[in-house]
């Protein structure tokens, strides 16, 4: 169990990291078009091809050429060297990371002077090649023993891990099935206004309750999509960013805390609901930025499954511990409601880019270019993720 937090959980990152770097360009692939092509049996390209298309779009959005890029971070689904070969970048700083860690590493490398303009490139052909996220050969099984260890008992899917989490969370907090449904309903409300979203048909709580269970207590609507695509961001040193663009989006603060004890047996999820790690990551990013949950115009939550959202609302301080159900019911996270969450539709309804598309939605909301789904006068956007108890908090602002 992870209830007792050490003193270092209350320490904060150096203030030098605040607004040290800014996003100057974002890009992505045609998720909707490639979804249709994959469904028709085509393979539009491979993971690298999706990454390069997104990178081209990010360069265009930033208004810079490839030759200005002196750092490269590849997503987890492409080999760093091959992506570097295809992008033609010989960087002075390089790495490979998932979405949140890529942003955090870019800020750290820039703050430390190892690079000034870093490209973050992600591409994934998971749909067209049939990547397995469950089963004995589950993706990520090499890095997370919990993904494969319980297979003799028939528990092999990512959904099952979060179904166990939701069941014990419901029991501990009195959280209800209908309250869980509010998340999928709200995110469809957002995606219905997003031309880049794959699933745009609005649903009601009644639709949610009537939908089949996959791994009970999770309904079909609680699961993310599996689709092909790519995302890229260009992150630059703050002063250079201001010279490059009139609309830099600064990274105000990053916080992180991980729960590893008892991880294979899922204790950070089913005992702790990731809470101590979320609270520590939140405190770091709030202290660094001088901002808090009340300042966040939009919140983007990593949502491989809908249950991440109530956990995040409690863990990152948007409501009290045990109050997420009431918050979802009475305040709301959908269009026109109290706290906009996953304004693109998220992994459930827009596109499953493993947290990468959430970063560009933060940037676009803060820039004010989200069209019909734009949250009025959004100044600050908050991204949180808690995958397997590795909790991050990233705050974006103008």
């Amino acid at each position: 169990m992870n209830h007792v937090q050490p003193d270092y959980a209350r320490k904060h990152p150096s203030p030098r990291n605040k607004r040290a770097a800014a996003v100057v360009g974002v890009g992505h692939t045609d998720w909707v078009g490639d979804w249709a092509r994959c469904r028709a049996g085509e393979q539009p390209t491979d993971s690298y091809g999706y990454g390069i298309r997104a990178f081209n779009n990010a360069l265009k959005d930033a208004g810079i050429s490839r030759d200005e890029v002196d750092g490269l971070i590849a997503g987890p689904t492409t080999a760093y060297e091959r992506l570097g070969e295809l992008t033609g970048i010989n960087p002075r700083w390089g790495g490979q990371a998932d979405a949140v860690l890529a942003v955090a590493q870019a800020v750290m490398a820039i703050e430390a002077g190892y690079a000034e303009v870093i490209a973050l490139v992600y591409g994934n052909d998971q749909r067209s090649v049939g990547t397995q996220y469950g089963g004995p050969e589950a993706m990520g099984g090499g890095a997370f023993l919990s993904y494969v260890y319980h297979s003799p008992w028939g528990l092999t899917s990512q959904g099952a891990l979060y179904a166990l989490t939701l069941q014990s969370y419901k029991h501990a907090r009195g959280f209800t099935e209908a309250e869980m449904g509010e998340v999928a309903v709200a995110q469809r409300g957002w995606s219905s206004m997003n031309p880049n979203a794959i699933m745009r048909k609005r649903i009601s709580i009644e639709d949610y309750m009537a939908s089949p269970f996959v791994c009970e207590p999770l309904h079909l609507f609680d699961y993310c999509l599996i689709n092909d695509g790519g995302v890229a961001l260009i992150i630059a040193e703050a002063e250079r960013a201001k010279r490059m663009t009139e609309r830099p989006v600064f990274i105000e603060g990053v916080g992180r805390f991980d729960l590893n004890r008892g991880a294979t047996s899922l204790e950070p999820r089913i005992d702790d609901f990731y809470l101590p790690a979320q609270q520590a990551a939140a405190a770091q990013s709030y202290a660094l930025s001088g901002l808090g949950p009340k300042d966040m115009d939009v919140l983007q939550v990593y949502d491989s499954f809908s249950v991440h959202v109530p956990l995040a609302l409690e863990g990152y301080g948007y409501c009290g511990v045990g109050e997420a159900g009431k918050f979802l019911r009475e305040q709301g996270i959908g269009p026109g409601q109290k706290q906009p969450v996953n304004t693109s539709g998220g992994h459930l309804s827009e596109t499953y880019m493993q947290g990468w598309a959430h970063q560009i939605e933060c940037v676009r909301q803060v820039r004010g270019e989200c069209g019909e789904r734009q949250v009025a006068e959004a100044r600050h956007a908050h991204y949180t993720s808690d995958v397997a108890g590795k909790c991050f908090s990233i705050i974006y602002g103008r």
């Binding site: 028939g154 528990l155 166990l164 009970e216």
Partner: protein, 136 residues
Amino acid sequence: MNAIEAKTPKPVMGLYDRPMWESISARAMRLQRCRACSAWQYPPGPSCPQCLSCELEWTEVSGRGKILSWVVFHRQYLPAYPAPYNSIAVRLAEGPTMITNLEGAMPGADSIGRDVRLVYVTMPDGMVLPRFELAD
């Protein structure tokens, strides 16, 4: 493929898993207990996460535990597990948590917190699995 022919999904079989699975086959499950601090651990490993001691002793468990959480799979993913089937998380009396199955009944609204006891179930392909049944 029917359930009779279906292979039980293979366990992860690292150096420290083998003695545990041998004890399960003998229907007397043993886990490692730390000689220095007495803590038990699951899954097995080279050292004690509580105190970092490498002096561990294989010791039979009491077989008592409590249900922490449960799920019911409504789709079939594996030949050995036709839907619906369940999986539960059990906190062993010794401390560690184990992901396993509930035998004899499907879990439901009142399952969390119930006392359970260890039973050994022979799968159609002959593999012995540690599972739990309600104790009260």
